[in-house]
């Protein structure tokens, strides 16, 4: 089945019933691989289509079984930003007392040096993660890790400790498709989050409400499901939850052990019990299901656009499944990725790719050379997504907020760079001269798409468009046909680079 271009009035089906096994074809496989991961090559699309849903979902979701480079705690340095040693502390005290400007300047210099080094490590960390997304054999693990990073948004800009950001990333990947309960329990003990939301300053008799507020507003329940009084009481439950160097500690002296009343429960509630109260709240599963839906299924244009009926029904089904499985995200996504709703034409190819998705997806799907990772990381930043530095605790808005006149050019020019090595500032001298292997892509298409086997140019264009933009008939297709007619009416490895520059400039290429 070749999908037709979407009509503006298309409405997705409300059915959460699984699609018929026979219905799962190449276009479904492609859709699944883009949404549950970062896109795929023709060979991968073919393989997954051949496997069928059961085996494909087992591969994607039960990724622990798939071999992948482990992410060890020792991958990055933990000692760049560290608490001062007793000697340093003493030295500082003495210099302050004696107004010893030279020593103070020396200490300041040392601190600045460490901060510089840490910013360097942060850059490496960002590039490492992008590379990981490109190379992973567990696409859904990376995709979910990105989801949780946006959900529990924490920024290096505020905490200025790259190792804590890395440790948080490990927490997300550990529980990526596991239980949200484990993540929520883990996040209140996560040094990066504690620092980001000032909980290290939250003491008995002087609680800081930041973490308690965001747990309810942004992480678990959503506005309207708690009162200001609940925040005040919950903040008390989290007092003393702090960290020492890289480890969580509960400072007993600073923890408020008095009786609290949070969301209708009373008792000597601590952080873990507060998390349990949140998980038991009726709003929690719907809140998380909504976030998952927006990320994996449909990025409603803006926050104020009401969900349509189908979305509401699907979200309620997901919420019910979350409750039934003790918040197991993998099992919930398994049902979603089988549903007729997920594969309805109004859902397929209608999500705006996020910047990481753009960068990683292009490399994974078309086999373009990965080129200079620092240019790619920079491009993602220009498109509005700096990993490890979301704009606020709300994370990235996603959807249409990614695209404006400036970022549209960055997106299109990123593709020119990947295809040709041309940076906006001119061709790169060395590394990026590597050519795009068009022959491989054409061979992959011929092996995968039946229409590509005829060897006829219009059929080949159909296969190419089906693969790159998800529909054989984007509005700009006649212009591509005109280009081909003007240039010899063939698609060859030689003219594929030029053709692909035009194809990736189609607005539809921004969608997946």
């Amino acid at each position: 089945m070749i999908p037709a271009p979407l009509k503006s009035d298309a409405v997705p089906t409300t059915s959460v019933a699984p699609i018929a096994p026979k219905a799962f074809g190449l276009d479904h496989a492609r859709h699944l691989l883009w949404r549950a991961g970062f896109g795929a090559s023709p060979a991968q699309v073919r393989t997954v289509a051949g496997w069928g849903l059961d085996r494909s979902l087992d591969y994607l979701i039960n990724f622990d079984k798939v071999k992948d480079e482990p992410v060890e705690a020792s991958l990055f340095r933990s000692d760049i930003i560290r608490p001062p040693t007793p000697e340093e502390r003493e030295l500082n005290r003495r210099a302050q007392r004696e107004r010893d400007e030279d020593t103070l300047a020396e200490l300041r210099l040392r601190r600045q040096q460490a901060e510089r080094e840490d910013r360097e490590q942060m850059k490496k960390l960002q590039q490492w993660w992008l590379t990981k997304m490109v190379e992973t054999s567990r696409p859904l693990q990376e995709k979910l890790t990105l989801f949780w990073h946006g959900h529990f948004a924490t920024s290096y800009r505020t905490i200025e400790d790259s190792y804590h950001m890395f440790a948080q990333n490990r927490l997300f990947r550990k529980h990526a498709a596991g239980s949200f309960a484990d993540l929520l329990g883990g996040i209140i003990k996560d040094p990066a989050m504690i620092a980001y939301l000032d909980n290290n300053d939250s003491k008995k008799n002087k609680p800081n409400e930041n973490l308690a507020r965001e747990l309810m507003e942004l992480f678990a329940l959503g506005v309207g499901n708690y009162t200001e009084q609940d925040i005040k009481e919950a903040a008390r439950a989290l007092t003393g939850y702090t960290f020492k160097d890289d480890e969580f500690v509960l400072e007993k002296n600073n923890h408020d052990t008095g009786s609290k009343r949070i969301l209708g429960r009373t008792g000597n509630i601590d952080g873990d019990e507060f998390v349990a109260i949140l998980l038991a709240h009726p709003a929690c599963s719907t809140f998380l299901a909504t976030k998952l839906y927006r990320f994996f299924v449909h990025d409603y244009p803006t926050g104020d656009t009401p969900f349509d009926n189908a979305a509401k029904l699907v979200i309620s089904d997901m919420a019910q499944r979350l409750r039934a499985t003790r918040y197991n995200v993998g099992k919930t996504l398994d049902a979603l990725f089988r549903s007729e709703h997920f594969y309805s034409p109004a859902i397929m190819n209608q999500q705006i790719k996020g910047p990481a998705q753009m960068v990683v997806g292009a490399i994974r799907s078309m086999g373009v050379p990965p080129r200079d990772i620092s240019v790619l990381s920079d491009a993602a930043e220009r498109m509005g997504q700096t990993v490890f530095a979301p704009p606020s605790v709300k994370g990235w808005d996603g959807g249409r907020s990614w695209v404006n006149t400036s970022t549209m050019f960055v997106r299109q020019n990123l593709m020119v760079f990947l295809l040709t090595g041309r940076r906006p500032q001119g061709k790169d001298g060395l590394a990026d001269r590597e050519n795009f292997q068009g022959a491989l892509l054409l061979a992959g298409l011929a092996d995968t798409y039946p229409e590509a086997k005829t060897g006829k140019t219009p059929d080949m264009l159909t296969a190419l468009l089906r693969f790159t933009v998800g529909t054989p008939t984007p509005a700009g297709r006649p212009v591509l046909e005109e280009y081909l007619a003007d240039t010899g009416n063939t698609i060859t490895p030689e003219n594929l680079t030029d053709l692909m520059m035009l194809v990736t400039a189609l607005p539809e290429y921004q969608l997946c």
């Binding site: 244009p301 549209m408 906006p424 500032q425 984007p474 700009g476 591509l480 035009l502 400039a505």
Partner: protein, 448 residues
């Protein structure tokens, strides 16, 4: 036949059906695109798009990034305490360019002295905010959001929101409704242009995203540069992909992307054409701020309807080897002053100077005492500058005390939001109290 001067005569479909070429010139770009590309709605002749706001008024924000040392920019040369705390980097009293009775400009800032003498410059002394934050990021965000918690939308973004769609207060506010947007005839309008890799937080609001680019060459599809023959197909493809949304239908993501791609292409053509023209007067070379202001002047000259431009000069984080009369900081403030002077010379030659108010700020000043490395560390209050024929020229507000310090830092005596309030209320005719979410004294920096 339809009337080119009547904006309501156009719809996207008619425009496409008639096949007007986009690249030809601003006058033939249909009104719906002019609206959505570069500015506020183009008014019909004799009308303004926002009641009561003169269409021609422009604000240029100049950001000095890194924390400019206010004390070596506007020097309190009569204060013994100044020289006592700045033994090697202090500017000798005999060398400063005197403005008013108590302070003088850094000797390299001759351009600013000229502006001052011409009555085009006001210096607001001692600007800051309560509980100053000394982190670059945080303090910059505070200035951009006009909020000491550094959260929420940008202050200029909120201004745009308030003008187009009615502003709902802060983070908890309501996003503008579709009806409000439609009534204001604004269609994801791009009102501001920022020179830089990304739009500053200050300009980001709910309804409007500014255009940002470092140079006009970067604000285009680079496929054209790679293979020139592709340009014509790219243009056609972009046009073919922007389809009319039928009445009563929701705009799909695909529709939205098609429209945005066409907006980008048209604005790119207009902007690149504008900045390719030669400036009317010379600009200093090797001066990154001058390069940006030259582009701004050429866009103003080309009559782009853009209301706010944003330019940035970095490098002011002078922790070590800052220098005094000469050296690093001297070079920076000299560049800055020369660039702004050249900008106003150009605007005057264009006869656009009376339309353009410039405002200069940095995220903080620096500490009063110099440090052990011949530099200065992050401090607090510092001067702001406003430039243009509409300013109440002179030195405004008292210099903060050099002896009554807050642990080594100057105490601010005017809140930066008082300056914003005047710019918003008196120049841009906005509802300053609503936009700033509070009542701030209007700093008397503009002529009545």
């Amino acid at each position: 036949m339809f009337d080119l001067n009547n904006p309501s005569a156009f719809t996207r479909r008619r425009f496409l059906a008639h096949g007007l070429t986009l690249a030809s010139a601003a006058v033939t770009v249909p009104a719906f695109l002019q609206r959505s590309v570069l500015g506020l709605p183009q008014p019909a002749p004799g009308m303004t798009s926002i009641p009561g706001v003169p269409e021609e008024r422009i604000v240029v924000v100049v950001q000095l990034s890194g924390g400019n040392d206010g004390l070596n920019t506007v020097v309190p040369y009569q204060e013994a305490a100044y020289y006592k705390s700045r033994t090697s980097i202090g500017i000798p009293a005999g060398r400063v360019l005197k403005v008013g009775d108590e302070v003088g400009l850094h000797p390299t800032m001759t351009g600013f002295k000229d502006l001052y003498d011409q009555g085009l410059l006001t210096i607001v002394q001692g600007v800051g905010y309560p509980n100053p934050n000394r982190s670059h990021f945080k303090s910059m965000d505070i200035w951009h959001t006009a909020d000491t918690t550094a959260t929420g939308d940008g202050w200029l973004g909120r201004y745009f929101d308030s003008q187009c769609c009615g502003y709902g207060a802060g983070e908890s506010g309501q996003a503008p409704t579709k009806q409000a947007k439609a009534a204001a005839k604004i269609d994801n309008t791009q009102i501001g242009i920022a020179m830089g890799r990304e739009a500053p937080l200050a300009m980001r609001g709910r309804s409007i995203q500014p255009i940002a680019f470092e140079s006009a060459d970067l604000f285009r599809w680079t496929g054209s540069a790679e293979e020139k023959s592709l340009t014509k197909y790219y243009d056609k493809l972009t046009k073919a992909s922007a389809q009319e949304v039928a009445a009563g239908m929701r705009e799909t993501n695909s529709d939205f992307l098609g429209r945005t791609a066409l907006d980008a292409q048209v604005s790119s053509d207009l902007i690149r054409k504008a900045v390719a023209t030669k400036p009317t007067t010379p600009y200093p070379g090797g001066n990154p701020l001058a390069d940006q202001l030259r582009m701004v002047a050429s866009m103003i000259h080309a009559k782009l309807p853009t209301r706010v431009y944003y330019v940035t000069l970095g490098g002011f984080d002078t922790h070590a080897g800052q220098g005094g009369e000469n050296g690093n900081h001297a070079r920076l403030v000299g560049q800055f002053a020369a660039a702004v002077k050249a900008f106003y010379d150009d605007l005057k030659a264009q006869r656009n100077d009376t339309r353009v108010l410039s405002m200069v700020f940095s995220e903080f000043g620096r500490r009063v005492g110099q440090n052990g490395s011949g530099g200065t560390d992050h401090g607090t209050a510092a001067p702001m500058f406003l430039i243009g024929p509409m300013v109440k020229a002179g030195v405004s507000n008292k210099h903060p005390s050099m002896t009554d310090l807050d642990s080594g830092d100057l105490k601010h005596n005017v809140d930066f939001r008082s300056v914003y309030a005047t710019v918003l209320a008196n120049w841009l005719k906005g509802d300053a109290d609503a936009i700033l979410e509070g009542k701030y004294m209007r700093a008397p920096v503009l002529k009545a």
